[in-house]
Amino acid sequence: MRTRKIGRRTLLATGTAGMLAAPWVAGAQAKTLRIGMQSILSGPIALLGTSSRNALQMEAERINAAGGFLGRPIEFVYRDSKGQPQEAARVARELVNSTGCELLIDAEASSGSFAVQEVVRDLGVACIHTNSETSSLTADPKIRVPTAFRVARQGVHDAIAGSTYLAKFATDKKISKWATCSPDYAYGRDTTAQYLEFFKRAKPDIEVVTQAWPKLGQADLTEVITKLIQAKPQALFTLLYAGDLSAFVNQGNVYALFSQMTVASPNFDYPVLTAIKNLPTGIQSATRYLETFPDNPGNKAWGEAYRKKFNEYPTNWSWQNTVAMQFYEAAVKKANSLDGKALAAALTGMKINTPFGVDGTITMRDDHTTINYAIGWGQTVPKPPYITDVKPADWGRIVELETEWKKEQHYI
């Protein structure tokens, strides 16, 4: 049997290369602070990753101009997980162990974030989830991790805010017959059920006359639309999003659906608002991100700067990643350290000033999730600002109902 030996030449070559590279690696680590960022950067929902990355790029420029973190310039290392949870876990580990990242921004969708969460539990590094809206990620104490935080909308907050707004709207307009139309998978079905639950609590006399469940990415929604029209509801609640929502509006327009019922949706983000050519007036819509809400100069300036730099509108994901970096900036300053535990202690309960907060501040609560971010509901108009007459949600009410919900789930 032949054994493979490392030859003299190989050894010399590797050794020389290693010696040449070593000072560079060591120097880079001592100087630049690497922050790992992973997300979905390819495929049909690449916008999640690219609009997150754009925002982080702007933040890196701002932070470095102000002297970086602890006097070190920051640099992002971006990785594409393609939305696969096992790949997300692998990438997170590699970013810390092999690439030398000292902080993590996890910009994955929910399935990826749950995988990253377990890696963070194991490594003890500080991590901020910026895009997962699934409540249990931080609400469930069994899933929560000491050094992992969420700077993003939380599903239950949106469901409470949305159903409270719609209950009032329904009472004012005397609307009792509702229909729903949401994508046929876990998000669509579970979240629709959650909205309806809070909705019925606020307004017990509503009646759901029909529910439609088109497939994710279904090109032709005609039979869904005609079925909804046949059921003659007074209002329709939909959780369709992105291309599916755009197709629904276009095909609904053909049937004049929007003149036959009031439509309500929390999913009209800028990419959808700008892509739809004939956006109907008067859709009841939440603001995922809007330059005009919260109506303050900081928010407007940020939105305009983003548009100027990238020639497209920012998304909900963009502001979330921006605020994550604002939290890191404040926490690193306060803890004077990059250690996971020290940063976690600094972040817990921290309140920062930011234009994306509904009153100019956002708080990182003890359960590692943010509150007081902008949630509003208004009505669509076909031209900018696209959503007008925005009413801010009542955070006192949100927290009150969220606490009840947490008790029912046995989280507290």
Binding site: S42, G43, P44, A46, L47, T50, Q211, A212, W213, K215, G217, Q218, A219, D220, T222, E223, V224, I225, T226, K227, I229, Q230, A242, G243, D244, S246, A247, N250, Q251, N253, V254, Y255, A256, P271, A275, I276, K277, N278
Partner: protein
């Protein structure tokens, strides 16, 4: 299952009219794509897995043409013409090299084209979805016929598709070139021996197939979202149509596409949780009773 709702629907003319139109529009657009697929298979015995790509590119070409010229008619014509040309190039440069070779080679080439052009679309038009929007001429209120809702745009689409079905059917049955195409489907070497330029004929078949798919893409673009990879789902449905109708039969494709469209239209009322499943149940039932499809002939 909600048979009461289905019963109520059949009892009301409004529901029957609305769901029938919705079934017809789904079916007719499916027919345009499936017709090209079945034509190419009938004549060349090639299963064109890249046919969905023709549909996708047709949609994008129409989208850009409309943005440049503001004319939807021009957009539709440009999409059909561009895809006819694309079909010819595809046949001449790629498929012509694998006639008679292993079916896996054909599959490989088609799949490569699907992947490459999904990426080309991403590079040219970006990875995000686009919406073309309804041409101004059709931004009108829907018609109400017997209480049912019929959108004018869909009525026009159904009309265009019906005219194409008739022209295609008559063209194949009555014209000299149609007869040559049918003869080539039966016995290509004999047709070639009789002095017909089969190279030209095969390219022509791909041109017609491509034009039909491009046309379908352009006609669907005002209401459907354009995104890379959108050709895939329509390809699967078109395959079901070709199989149910009988591989190679245009009339079969028309009937099968309408059957599927109407199943979807009424299935969503009676079987809201099983609408997609109905299509496959129909396919199984038809194939059990007629193994070669509704209008298929046994391949010798």
């Amino acid at each position: 299952m909600d048979l009461d709702a289905l019963g109520n629907c059949f009892a009301s003319s409004a529901c029957v009219v609305t769901q029938t139109t919705s079934g017809l529009i789904v079916g007719m657009l499916l027919f345009l794509v499936a017709a090209g697929l079945t034509l190419i298979f009938g004549v060349l015995k090639i299963v064109n897995f890249a046919h969905g790509t023709f549909y996708m590119l047709g949609g994008y070409v129409a989208f850009s043409t409309l943005a440049l010229t503001d004319s939807y008619t021009l957009a539709v014509v440009a999409a059909a013409a561009a895809m006819a040309l694309f079909g010819v190039l595809f046949e001449r440069l790629l498929i012509a090299r694998v006639y008679g070779s292993n079916v896996l080679m054909q599959l490989l080439i088609c799949y490569a084209v699907v992947l490459i052009f999904d990426d080309v679309v991403k590079i040219v038009w970006g990875p995000d979805f686009h919406a073309m929007g309804m041409p101004p001429a059709f931004q009108v209120a829907p018609l109400f016929i017997a209480g049912g809702v019929v959108p004018p745009f869909y009525a026009v689409l159904i009309g265009i598709s019906a005219v194409i079905a008739i022209v295609l059917g008559l063209g194949l049955a009555l014209t000299r070139i149609g007869k040559t195409v049918r003869a080539a489907a039966q016995n290509p070497s004999m047709v070639s021996a009789l002095g017909v330029n089969t190279t030209l004929l095969f390219a022509l078949v791909f041109a017609v197939g491509g034009a039909l798919a491009g046309l379908a893409g352009a006609l669907a673009a005002p209401v459907r979202s354009l995104s890379p990879g959108m050709g895939f789902s329509i390809l699967i449905e078109s395959f079901i149509v070709t199989v149910i109708g009988g591989m190679g039969s245009i009339a079969g494709a028309l009937v099968a596409a309408l059957v599927i469209g109407l199943l979807r239209g009424f299935g969503t009322i009676g079987f809201p949780m099983f609408t997609d499943g109905l299509t496959y149940v129909a396919m199984i039932l038809i194939l059990v009773t007629r193994p070669h499809g509704l209008f298929g002939r046994e391949v010798a």
